[in-house]
Amino acid sequence: MGAVLQVVLVAVGSPLLVGMMRQVRARLEGRAGAGIGQPWRDLRKLVRKEPIAPDGTGWVFRAAPLLLAGTVLVVAAVVPLVSTTSPLDEVADLFAVVALLALGSVALALGALDTSTAFGGMGASREMIVLALVEPTILLSVFALSVRVGTTNLGTIVTSAVADPLAVISPASLLAAAALAIVTIAETGRIPVDNPSTHLELTMIHEAMVLEYAGPDLALIEWASAMRLSVLLGLLTSLFAPWGIATGNAGLLALLLAAVVVIAKVALLGALLAAGEVFMAKLRLFRIPELLAGSFLMALLAVAASFFLA
C-alpha cells in the first residue's frame, strides 16, 4: 500500500521536482523559466519520437535505460518515504539500496561504452571514478547511522529516529547528514560535481554518457534520473528529518498525510539545492576527490562521534 503510493508519487512527482528546481534557478537568475510542467512536456515529446539505433550499438545499449529505471523503481518502493513499513523489507537495507543505485550507474556507463564514441568513454570513465570515490563516504555514513540502532534496515533506522527526535541533532547525525548531502549531490550529478545543463566536453559527466540516446530511450533516462534525484532527496529527509512519516500499520488517511508532508519536505530541499547551485560553480574534475575526501572525513568523524560521544 505505502510502497505503491511511494512508487506512484516518485514516478509522477519527480519530473515536477526537476521542473520546480529549474524554475527556482530561473527566477533567481532573473529569467522567467519554462514552468514546472516542462520536464513532463519534454518527456511526452521524446516518447513520441522515433527510436534510434546508433551505428554499432547492441543489446547493452538498449538494456541500459531499462535497468537504470528498474533499479530506481525498486529503490523507490523500498525506501521509507511515506511509510516505514515496506512489503519488501528484506530489500530495504541501506547497503542494498546503495548497491542498487550503483548498479543503475553501471548500466548507464556500459551503455555509454557500447556506443564506441569518445564522449561515451569519457562520461563512463568519470562516472565510475565518482562512484568509486563516493562509496567509502556512503558506507561510513551508513555505519554511523546504524551504530545507534544496531541494524542497517532502513525502516528500523527511520522508526527509531521518529521515536527519538533529539538524536537527530546529535553530532554523529549532523555529520552523517552533511556527508550524505555531499554524496547525494555527487550521485545525482548536480553542481559542484557535475552540471546537469552542460554540453561542454571538459565538464560533462552524465550528459556525456547519454549523448547517443534519443527518443523514448532518452525519455526513460531523463525520467529515471529525475526519480533518482527525488528518491535520494527523499531518503535524506527521511533519515534526518523523519517527522510526519507513517509508521506501523497506518491507515489510508495517515498515508496521504505523510505523502503531503514528504512532498513538502522534498520540494523544500530541492528548492534549497537549486538556490545553492545558483551561487556555486562546478568544480574541476580533479578537485572533486578533495570534496569527496572531505565528505569521507565527515563520515568518519560521524562514526567516531557516534561511538566516543555516546
Binding site: 533529539l166 555529520l175 568523524l301 566516543f308 560521544l309
Partner: protein
Amino acid sequence: MTETMFTLPPSLYVPLLDLACGAFLLTGMMVLWRRDLAAIVRLFALQGIALAALIVVLGVYEQDVELVAVGLGVGALRAGLLPYLMRRALIAGGAGREVRPVVNVATSLLVAAVLAMLAYAVAQPLIRLSPTPATQAVPIALTVLLVGFFVLVTRRRALSQVVGFLLMDNAITMTAFLTTSGVPLVVELGISMDVLLAVLVFQVLTTRMRAAFGGTDLDELRELHD
C-alpha cells in the same frame, strides 16, 4: 548572586556543548580544505566564535560569571582582534592562495581523518578519569591540536602557518577549559598576550618577507641559510 543567574538544564547543556565542539572541529578541518587565505582567516574567526560559545556555555552551566566573562574576552580576541590583524597582514602581503601545499588537499583530509581516530584513541584514558560531557569532548580538542600541527608542517604560506599555530593554541585553550573549567584568569591573560605578540611578529615578518622575496612562501627563507 548565583541564585539569580539563569540555569541551564542538562538536556539542553549537552547538545549545546556538542554543537559548539562540532563547529570547533569542523572549522579546524575546513582550514585543511580551503586554499584561499582569506577564507582560512574567516574559518579561524569562526572557530574563535565556537570556542567562545563553548566557554560561555560551560560558564552558564557552572554558573560562573568569571568564566562567562573570560569566554567573551576569548571571543573578542580570537574572533575579532586576531582575524582583524591577520586580514591586515593579508592585504599588506597581497591576498593569495595556498597554491601547492606540501601534502595535497585530498591526502591532507585523509590524514586528518587518521589523526582524529588517533586523538580519540589516545584520549580515552583521560576521559575515563572523569567521564563528564565536557571531558568527552577532549578528543575534539586533541584532534584540532594535531590538525593545527599538520597545517604548520605542510602549508607553505606564512599566514597558513600562523593559522596552524593559532589552531594549536585554540585547541590547548579548549582542553584547559574542558578538563579543569579554565585556568586562572592571569594565566589566560598571559597566553593571550603571547598569542597577540606572535601575530604581531608575523605581521611584521610578512611585510619584511614580501619586501625581501616578493612573496610569503616560507621555503624562501632557506635562502637566508647561506
